[in-house]
Every structure is written in C-alpha cells, then in structure tokens.
C-alpha cells in the first residue's frame, strides 16, 4: 500500500479586484474569431534611450545603438514554448515577418515606447506566445558588418571616452511568451496584437543600482575592461580586436554575455550562435 503525503500550502496574493489594468479584455471565445493584425516591435528599454551607470561607475549614454534583425517568426505554440529547455517550437500556427531590419535602439527618451518594425495584417486570431528571430551583420549603414554596433559616451570623474563597439557574431533567439506589465501577443478582430523583441544591454556593463553580488552584476563585465583599451579618448573595437586585447577570461565572459541580450520583455531566450 502506498501512502501519499500531500500538504497544502497556505495561499498568498490578492483576488481579481486588485488586478492591474490591461489594454484588452479578451476571452477564450473572442480568440476563436476571425483574423487580426500582429505588430512586431523592438525595444532597448530606458537603459539605452536615457543612459545608465555601469556597475563600475561609468555613466554611459548612447548616441546610437544599432541591431540588425531578420528571420522573424511568431508562433501560437502548443504546448507553450519553454526557452529554458530549448528545442523545437511546436505550434498550431506560425507567421513570418519578412525583411531585414536595422534599428537604432537609442532613439527617443524615457517616454519612448518600443519601436515598431512591421505589422502582419489578417493573421489568424489567437494568442501568439512564442517568437524567434536572428541577429545578423548589417549590410549597410553605420553598422555595416555588425549585428550590434554601439556608439556611446562613457564618463567617470574627469575621464571621458568616445566608445564605438561592434559585435560581428550572429545569434538566433527563441523566446516564449512576453513577460512584463501586460500580457502581449493576443490577436483579435479589431484588436491588434504585439510581440516585442527586447534587448538588455545592462547585461554587458552591469547596473550600479543593483547589488554588486546580484546575478546581473556577477555576469556583466562592466566598462573598465574597455576603458583599459583607450587610445586618445576613444575606444573603437570589434570582437576580432577585443579577442586580442582583452584578458582571456574577460573576452570569454563577453562572448557569453552577448548570448543573453535577447529577451521578450523580461522573459529570457534560448540562444544559439550563428557563425
């Protein structure tokens, strides 16, 4: 005879009357109807629009921060895709946004929202709860040759550097559902849905507003390793030169942290490196 010991845990939390406001009121029934529009947005968040202070005290403001994105697909995944486990996304519906998009994430200020890069009209209604995209080297413009190209100013005390960093490696990100203030991805007739590709650049430089031993700052490399490479007030490097100039362990850490930039809101992604 088997004895199963099950212990109920006391409940926490408040009921629905304390629920936050959301943009839409969608039920299972309405999700079955018709078609609607699906918007795709890109967001570097306030860190890159308004600047921030790195974990080692450098105030970094971005003039430009270009990322180049392509091969964008939205899914109605079932079961819901789990980026922690990776693997193939199993979906009942998937739709592609064609094109290559080079976006300057630094444009705007604290009042600026995510940047719209495209809309698919008349996609099947429902909840798009997974998204994949690739980051590839740009073929034109200031970021030509780079998947990520940042043009920034870094200041600390009386030190001030022009910073131009280009990262040429490509990445393929697979994300589950958007995690944030509101739930996204619901498409209904007359109610467009939105999927957001989010980039967390504080992962590279860290954040002085977070504890020094927090997960973020333990992973980040800060700005000091880049400042150590200065030449007449300018840091201008790419991965090829950084591999030669940075200490081996710092370079390895940089490569690892670059795979963590892609998110959907606060939800993390599964990442593969494109060579």
């Amino acid at each position: 005879m088997l004895l199963l010991s099950i212990t109920a845990v006391s409940c926490g939390g408040d009921e629905a009357d304390q629920a936050q406001e959301v943009e839409q009121d969608i039920t299972e029934e309405t999700l079955q109807q018709d078609t609607g529009d699906l918007m795709f947005t890109v967001n570097g968040e306030d860190f890159v629009r308004s600047g921030f202070v790195s974990m080692d005290g450098w105030h970094i403001t971005f003039r430009h921060l270009y990322v180049t994105i392509t091969d964008i697909t939205a899914y109605k995944s079932h079961p819901p895709y789990d980026p922690h486990s990776g693997g193939e996304i199993i979906a009942t519906t998937q739709v592609d946004l064609d094109g290559v998009f080079t976006v300057d994430l630094a444009q705007g200020d604290s009042n600026t929202g995510p940047i719209l890069i495209g809309t698919l009209d008349d996609v099947p209604a429902g909840h798009y709860n997974a998204i994949t995209w690739s980051m590839v080297p740009s073929s034109e413009g200031p970021s030509r040759g780079y998947t990520i190209y940042l043009d920034a100013q870094a200041e600390k005390g009386d030190q001030s550097y022009n910073v131009r960093l280009g990262f040429e490696t490509g990445y393929r990100y697979s994300a589950g559902e958007y995690v944030g203030d509101v739930r996204k991805g619901f498409v209904n007739a007359g109610v467009p849905g939105e999927l957001e590709m989010t980039f967390h650049f504080d992962h590279i430089f860290g954040d002085i507003d977070q504890p020094a031993d927090c997960d973020l700052n333990m992973m980040a490399i800060g700005f000091e390793p880049f400042a150590a490479l200065m030449g007449e007030g300018t840091v201008e490097e790419d991965l090829a030169t950084l591999e030669r100039k940075l200490p081996r362990e710092i370079y390895a850490k940089l490569l690892e942290v670059l795979t963590t930039l892609g998110h959907t809101g606060e939800g993390h992604c599964h990442c593969t490196v494109i060579q």
């Binding site: 199963l4 939390g13 408040d14 629920a19 079961p79 922690h84 490509g170 944030g180 790419d238 795979t259």
Partner: protein
Amino acid sequence: MKTLLPFAALLLLTVPLFGHGARAIWELQGDSVHISASYDDGQPLSRAQITVFSGAAPSVPYMVGMTDENGEFSFLPDREESLDWDVQVRSAGHGDMVHLSLTEEPEAASEQGTFSTLQVVLMSACVVWGFVGTAFFFASRRKK
C-alpha cells in the same frame, strides 16, 4: 576593423546557450498550485511579483501576489472557471511564465506525475512479490 560576413556563409551552431535568468516551476499540493521561483544559480526569487491568469480570460490578471522569502507562492485555482492557468513571476528585470493544465478533479498525487524513490521501491516490491506468490501457487499444485 569591419568584417562583413556573407549571409550565405552563416552556419548555426547547435550548442544551446542560456545565460542567467529566472525559472519558475509548479506542482499540485492537494488542490492548491504551488509555485517555486529561483534564479538560474538556484537563489530564490524572493518578493517577486506574481500575476495569475485564468484561461477563461487570459489577458486579464485573475490574481496578483508576491512570492515569500523562499521564492514560493501558492493559490487555489477555481476549476469551474478554467482548467488552464498561467502564472507570471517577475523580479528586477528577471521573469518567467509557467503554464498549467489541470484536471477537473484535484489529484492525490503531483500533477507532474513523479513518484518518490520509496514509492517506486514499494511498487516494485509488490510486483515482484506477486510473481513470486504466483510461482509458489503453481509449484505447490504440481506437488499434489
């Protein structure tokens, strides 16, 4: 310093990479749903914001709350409202979403269907003892 990589030459490395982040898991404890949230390094996601969504109205929070110091949170789902539930956990830029599909009646064991080592041993012993007993039964009949 710029190196343009032709798209045609791009090859996907199949090595999965997953840096830092938050992870939430769930299990049934009686008729309650128990959420446990932690960072990838195992540290609990303490005082994290919890938002529970019912499958009946998936874009509207059904309940909001907060994990305790151990990154844990429990709630009692209304199975008449929906059997599908989603729970979002967020803290300081980290977040995760878990998806639950319940049965109509609460189950005595974990929804995720795992047995303890003791349970597995006991079940195996019962099966073996059943075979042994059957063998003894037929062996005793032949002697008569």
